[in-house]
Symmetry: C2
Subunit: 309 residues, 2 copies
């Protein structure tokens, strides 16, 4: 089943202890789409400038990603630069240029209307709400957000949360959103805001899913589920790890006939698997060229890493 | 099979967001012994002062722990006070009074000589080495240490590490010991210092075991193993969580006929289980009174929390 993702398609410059890259293809929608493309059909809604050329386009096409929803407008694409020199777990943003993203108004092509899965990547909650409203029949709606929207756009974000099935954010964001420093209590406060499930990403420690009583109609799931992350001897570039997790997670769910608790759990593992690939190279390098078998091989490794037998 | 533990038997005063307790029974050897006592016979080597009375003694006796190795001397017992008000993940030490511990010289009763398992809790590496030397026939030797010994007593600690089968320390300690900020690389540097396996405790994120090639003779284990921690809505008091983990870990291994890779993995889970109980109440309260069935019930919960099916 097809996934529609709305979010940034951008250029990133980053420096990490492993080196530096200038103007790599990046953006939340890009990482998400590449990761999800290994599981199902992905359709992207975004906006780019004149610097987005055939080479960038090819990165999507090679993965069979539908780019008809990427609008091309005069000007420059969204640009971000950051450094991980002080802390590999948290980017220090050096520069953000919204450029053509500033006046982004998502338009959904007719060919995208039947998408059953929707991922609202980290963008202005007003735009997330707009896309959500244009896709009333979506079977599963997942979304992301960040500290900036939590702090300064709380009312708009609250409306988005009411329409979400699964919210995927990190520890600090959950605690900030709930104004509670205990993860479990914060998770339940966030679930009270609307999402039926909450996936909390812990970076190198994996991710934990929390559920509210009304998830998985007919089956009450109260025990959280934790997927490990792969201990890596070198994290080359953490950029996009969270979006790649979301891509693996939603991608796997969309590839399955129904969202059951076992499918949700395996989706958490596939999310971690795709996040582990993303950080092994700069930008989207690794996600652009996974070989057949590599994903299942790593999934098996994650099982070995965490299962008693 | 019996475990011999050497370490502090102490009184602790702590304040946490859940409240405050004065002069609870504590100390690394106490938490370890109580946790391990649910799995096998435990024998304690330590020293206490005149403030350690029949009530404290009973806490051990009720759990069938052998206290003949606890020496009683004139003066006051080791005392520690700390606060978790700023950070539940790291105690702020307010006061440490070594008292009778200052001149501690471990003596191993004849009745303890046949102990097959040895746990060297976090004490001066010179004393750890001394006990290790007095127990040349121990089948499995596990140990702990802390930043103070790593920083200021590196040479003494290096000799202890050479004699260890399993070292159990936390993330920050591994990185400090290896002088490397990447967990995987740090872990392998620590394994090169002597231990056959390294268990890294991540607090609320569980623990990861790393193995070197010479572990489990006949079976090469190269994939690390990660046990989750239980997401808790209230961490009442984190004091002793690491020692309780060690008690569950070594206790379970000692209760099994042989240390195989599956036994090691289950031991990691039992370690996390005992750590999760420890933090639910102040001091050793919870570990003193676990009911039959509670441990297996929580073990099952850990499996649900982390296993795909």
């Amino acid at each position: 089943m097809a996934i529609l993702v709305v979010g940034s398609v951008a250029f990133d410059t980053m420096e990490t202890p492993s080196g530096r890259r200038d103007r790599c293809l990046g953006g939340a929608a890009t990482f998400f789409a590449l990761a999800a493309s290994y599981f199902t059909q992905v359709r992207v809604i975004g906006v780019v400038g004149e610097d987005f050329g055939p080479e960038e386009e090819r990165a999507f096409i090679r993965r069979n990603i539908d780019t008809r929803g990427i609008e091309h407008v005069p000007g420059k694409s969204f640009f971000w630069s950051g450094s991980y020199m002080k802390n590999l777990n948290e980017a220090q943003t050096l520069n953000t240029e919204l450029n053509v993203f500033q006046s982004f108004s998502p338009k959904i092509p007719a060919a995208y209307q039947d998408s059953e899965y929707l991922f609202l990547a980290n963008i202005d909650p007003v735009l997330q709400e707009d896309v959500r409203r244009q896709m009333p029949k979506a079977k599963l709606v997942c979304g992301d957000t960040m500290n900036y929207w939590i702090r300064d756009h709380a009312e708009n974000l609250a409306r988005v949360l009411k329409g979400l099935d699964v919210l995927l954010i990190n520890d600090a964001e959950v605690k900030m959103l709930a104004k509670d420093n205990n993860l479990v209590q914060a998770a339940h406060k966030v679930l009270d805001m609307g999402p039926k499930a909450l996936v909390v990403k812990h970076g190198e420690y994996g991710a934990t899913a929390f559920f509210c009583d009304r998830s998985f109609p007919g089956e009450v799931v109260t025990v959280p589920f934790r997927a490990p992350a792969l201990p890596l001897a070198e994290v080359v570039d953490p950029t996009g790890a969270g979006d790649s997790f979301a891509g693996g997670f939603v991608g796997y769910i969309a590839s399955q006939p129904a969202l059951t608790p076992p499918v949700f759990r395996r989706a958490m593992f596939y999310g971690s698997v795709m996040g582990s690939f993303a950080v092994e190279r700069f930008g989207t390098e690794r996600l652009q060229q996974l070989l057949p078998g590599e994903i299942e091989e790593r999934f098996a490794l994650f099982r070995q890493l965490s299962h008693l037998e």
